[in-house]
Amino acid sequence: MINWTSRLEKRRIDGEDHLGVESSAQAYQAYLLAGVITTTSRVRYFSFYAWVLHRFLQSHSHDLSLDAFKIFIQRYELTFILGCYYHHRIKQENILTGLIGGGTNNITAHNIWNESNGQVSLDSQYLGAALGGLGQPYGTVIKNMSVMDERKRGEIPTLTKTIGRTLAEAFDRTVQGTRFYEMVTSVDPSPATISKDMIEDFGETVCLCPESIEHGEDREPLREMLFRFDLAFDLNHLYVARRLSLGLLLDLAYKASGHSIMNGSTMRRVLYLGVYDIWQDYTPEPALEDWYFRWRMVMVRQMYTNGLQCLFRAFTDWVNDYERETDATFEAWLDEVNHQPSMMNVVNATLDEYLHGLCQEVDLNDWQSDEFGDYCTLQSGHDELTLYDVLESSERKNFFNTEQLVSRGLRILCQIALRSRLYRQNPLWADLRTKAGTLRLPLDAFIDRLWTDAESGVTVGEFLKWLFRDYIIGQHEIVALSKLRYQTDNTFRFTYSNGVFYTEDANYEQPLRYPSLRLYNALQMLIDVGLVAYDDDGGTYTSEDGVFYRARVVEAVQE
């Protein structure tokens, strides 16, 4: 019988990474920093959750069901969150970041606290996920840190005998003497209500901040959990890889000389250009050079993502433009690009001429030289970071257009290729490709195509045509179809039918922003355990213990 057809997609979500290029840098970061993701940056959660599970096992042996554990962990976690909230409230310091379940600016904790009088109900809803923060987002990373593992679906997790239990027992010793501890060990292991005084007392001892951790028995085990010096040097071991990334962070802080590497621009400069600023270079310890190179590749891949993001933004803005008089065909788009005032000369030039021009701007005569990086420095003002930063800040002011996006996007991509000429000679260049799994739009393929076309007399206009067709439009289609296939979500920003592009959401604007870098989260963990600290001017430095740990990492490599 005749039926009407229904939509293929089950729901519409905005999503990001519409070209699917960012995920490979993310996957590589997962190798470089196992157990650290961008939503988990407070290290004490590892000892806290280990302790909660340990307490549950010790006090609840009559009922080890998941349902019982859910109630148990919720009550302990709410006590913990409110304790941390109160600890910073009384100190009138900046808001404590990374507090799971606290909401933006810890608003949930604030409301629960203020709505309670002397007593606080620990059955208040504060987080949607089952098992609270141990479900999401710490559920996966706590396994990657070897603290816990899943037993079976529907059962409570298990605690690892060495790392997990050591952390739990250290945390247990830390909180001994608090009134909350007295209550759960002597009166009621899972109280439904406790007094605010008890929470205040508990928060003072267990807060996530470095000041509290400094006095905790769990600080040392947490350091050992992060660095895993018990393991022999083997780069295939994820925990050794993490140790080296943390060692690199200690080295960056050690040589920062008053710069704050927690600052996004500084960290990116150090990784991408090898400078803290125009006056200070960064040179890694020889033992960490390879590891530094690996993180540089993450930045290269992220800059490549940014260049493509500019072109994608330009195209989607154009498709979204309802005031456009023509049908949104590919030819009409190319026409739009080619007739931008500053593009008219560029598109007719050959790639060879274009690349030559880029090099000349930084006083380099030969675009086939390996020295582009030496000339195109931060000081030149033409480096890719600066080019992108200008666009990013223009976006904040809502002040840019197709011309800027296309010309800067193309320039960033071409300069990455010129800069990478030297990097590609390093055998480690292939590491990202090997470790990150399937690479969408491999940078190597882009660079090879650029060189081939430049040597064949292809014009910039023809190159842009290929770039938009295969790397922007075609790639978006395949990524959106892939998400539709696996997640049944419609993430299309535009669709194509019979030669015409149609917008899916005319109001959408592809944001221009740097992809996330897990080093910041790892750095926060190092600050929490007292290996890195801030000076009075906000500069980052390595503490005395940090210097010792840095030396241990370097020593382990040398051995």
Partner: protein
């Protein structure tokens, strides 16, 4: 009631070995991502796509570097024609040894055709073991005859011919001449659609849903069917209808003209849904009829023939003695119908603007590759040209010699390892390009053959990629278990329960004692890091395909593993894929989505298992089975 072809494919059982598509426009990236995996799950080994050159060329132009499997996992061929007219049929035919599914409609093999436009679709199924479905065989036979006509006219390339011959050999039923003379499916290969529906009665009311109209065909159908009322259902934004001419026509013919808009009810969702359906419903005093499918209300669609200067179209016909039998189409909850008073419609066009392009004077066809040999055929009038081939996955051009018939053969130094398209370029003696052919997929015959004989495990691997697939795999395994219930073993009085379980590999201990059901001790919740890491690493690194699928037990375990997989891990991947992992909200959203999918799957499986148990219970109470089970049940 609505139907989605992609979802429908998920509901089918793996009874099919071949799929044949007809389409006008074509998006192969869509096909490879959203349709091909579902076909693989069904165990389909041969896929043929017959497309109009417009769709074929466009698919290559827009997606050639993202197309992975053309010429390797499926054959895609353009149906070229010298006169005007296009291949406009939209069909999906699934063929198995004893089963068939025929899906016809108005939607092309594109994202819009399968899941965005407002299209109509008709599904017919055939099971040789189910006599009630035998009346549908004529529809399958009609399509097969059409394919044979295309083969006999040498309109298909050799790879498609070979695949079709193989399909015929493994599904002989499709060539059996049906007893009935009623033809529920008609096509315009050598007789126009209008002529073939001429026998349908004249009507009081004629309702037409279509995006494209031409005055000539409107006049003809009104003249033949003599309606007193003509109702046209259009999408004012995307309709090609000369309204003034239609009014004049109705005045002359003495019939009233009504105009309606049709739009999707879900228009609040983002992304437009254009009306692309083509339906003709006639209502008379003694009943009604409905003709729907690919043909617009245009001259080349309704009045032309493929062998003449018209389109190749295909329509299905339903006839009822009930005058309101097809009212549901206009009252469906998925659509909204509103009267249209004043409209500004676009001008009249003959069809969807796709006449034969005369731009190309050179055609490349039948390009096959079996390493290292590349063979093909160039159709050209050019004399004394120098010919080269440009393959998109090769860095350089390849010089070739063509014989007097345009045939060529060359060898490739490097083996093709992905889908590839080739273009023939004619140059003069100075090396200046004269002309070039449209691009053509290279049919990689050896790879296609290997794909055609691939193992069961490929399908299992595809199934384990998603919850829906795992659900289908689970059902299949349970059904397999059901069919292979070992009554003899169950009824053997000499074999204890644990012995039987051991024989089947369900218990591996030497002890015959019953399993200990007491809860685990607290100490068992403290685990050794090394063992834990080893298990974790194994599960993470093993590809399902590489895992041991030799035994049913393992296979079922794998399926259950997928169904019960912890979502935390996959949510992280989803968040990474979406890349916005800077906020917990997105992270949690991905997690919640996966969780919902899993819960939905579990709910369906719960119902399935309840039915399964009921069936099992009924089986136990069957007299013959009861006798067989008796010794076992007495213990």
């Amino acid at each position: 009631m609505t139907l989605n072809i992609a979802d429908y494919l998920e509901t089918l059982k793996p009874h099919y070995h071949s799929a044949i598509f007809f389409t006008y426009s074509l998006n192969l990236v869509f096909f490879e991502n959203l349709v091909l995996p579902k076909l693989e799950r069904l165990g389909i080994k041969r896929n043929i796509i017959l497309a109009d050159p417009f769709g074929y060329d466009e698919a290559i132009a827009t997606g050639q570097n993202n197309i992975q499997y053309a010429g390797r996992h499926y054959v895609c061929t353009p149906l070229r024609k010298q006169e005007s007219g296009v291949q406009h049929v939209k069909v999906l035919l699934l063929v198995g040894e004893k089963h068939g599914v025929l899906i016809t409609g108005s939607g092309n093999l594109t994202f819009y055709g399968y899941g965005r436009n407002l299209e109509v679709v008709d599904v017919r199924t055939l099971e040789l073991d189910n006599e009630e479905t035998h009346s549908e065989q004529i529809a399958f036979y009609t399509i097969w005859r059409l394919l044979e006509s295309l083969m006999s006219e040498e309109l298909l390339d050799s790879t498609s011919n070979e695949s079709l011959n193989a399909i015929r050999a493994s599904a002989e039923w499709i060539t059996n001449i049906p007893r009935t003379l009623n033809r529920p499916v008609v096509h315009s290969y050598n007789q126009s659609i209008l002529d073939q529906i001429d026998a349908l009665p004249s009507v009081d009311v004629l309702r037409i849903i279509a995006p494209y109209f031409s005055q000539a065909s409107l006049e003809e159908i009104v003249a033949r069917k003599r309606p007193r009322r003509l109702s046209l259902f259009v999408d004012p934004k995307e309709t090609y209808l000369d309204l003034d001419a239609a009014r004049v026509l109705c005045d002359e013919m003495g019939c009233e003209l009504d105009l309606y808009t049709i739009s999707a009810v879900d228009k609040s969702k983002k992304g437009s849904r254009n009306l692309h359906a083509k339906v003709f419903v006639g209502i008379h005093a003694r009943g009604s009829w409905c003709v729907s499918g690919s043909a617009n209300c245009t001259y080349p669609a309704l009045m032309g023939t493929w062998s003449g200067r018209g389109n190749l179209e295909l329509m299905t016909i339903y006839i009822s003695e009930d005058s309101i039998a097809f009212d549901d189409i206009f009252q469906d909850e998925a659509i909204q119908v509103e009267p249209l008073d004043q409209i500004s419609l676009k001008g009249q066009v003959e069809d969807e603007g796709h006449q034969l392009s005369d731009a190309a004077s050179v055609y490349l066809s039948d390009v096959t590759y079996v390493h290292p040999h590349l063979r093909g055929q160039i159709t050209t009038d050019l004399q004394n040209a120098v010919w080269v081939l440009a393959i998109n996955t090769f860095g350089r051009e390849i010089a070739i010699q063509i014989d007097a018939y345009g045939a060529f053969e060359t060898t490739l130094e490097t083996e093709l390892d992905k889908a590839s398209v080739v273009v023939a370029i004619a140059k003069d003696a100075n090396g200046t390009e004269i002309t070039r052919s449209p691009a053509q997929f290279i049919q990689q015959v050896a790879i296609l053959n290997r794909y055609g004989s691939r193992s069961y495990q490929v399908r299992v691997r595809e199934n384990l990629n998603s919850f829906a697939g795992a659900e289908s795999q689970f059902r299949e395994l349970m059904d397999f278990l059901w069919k292979n219930l070992d009554v003899e073993e169950l009824s053997s009085p000499d074999v204890s329960v644990s012995h039987r379980l051991k024989r089947r590999g369900r218990i591996t201990t030497d002890s015959d004692e019953a399993p200990d059901n007491s809860p685990p001790s607290v100490e068992s919740y403290y685990t050794d890091e090394d063992i834990d890491a080893a298990i974790w690493k194994r599960v993470q690194t093993l590809n399902p395909y590489d895992r041991d699928t030799a035994s049913l037990k393992d296979l079922l375990s794998l399926t259950l593993l997928k169904l019960a997989a912890p979502i935390a891990q996959t949510a992280e991947i989803a968040a990474i894929e979406g890349s916005d992992i800077t906020t917990l909200e997105i992270y949690t959203e991905a997690f919640e989505r996966q969780k919902e999918q899993q819960v939905e799957t579990f709910t369906r499986l719960k119902q399935y298992i309840i039915r399964y148990c009921r069936r099992y219970k009924e089986e136990l109470f069957r007299e013959d089975r009861a006798i067989a089970y008796q010794p076992f049940m007495n213990r």
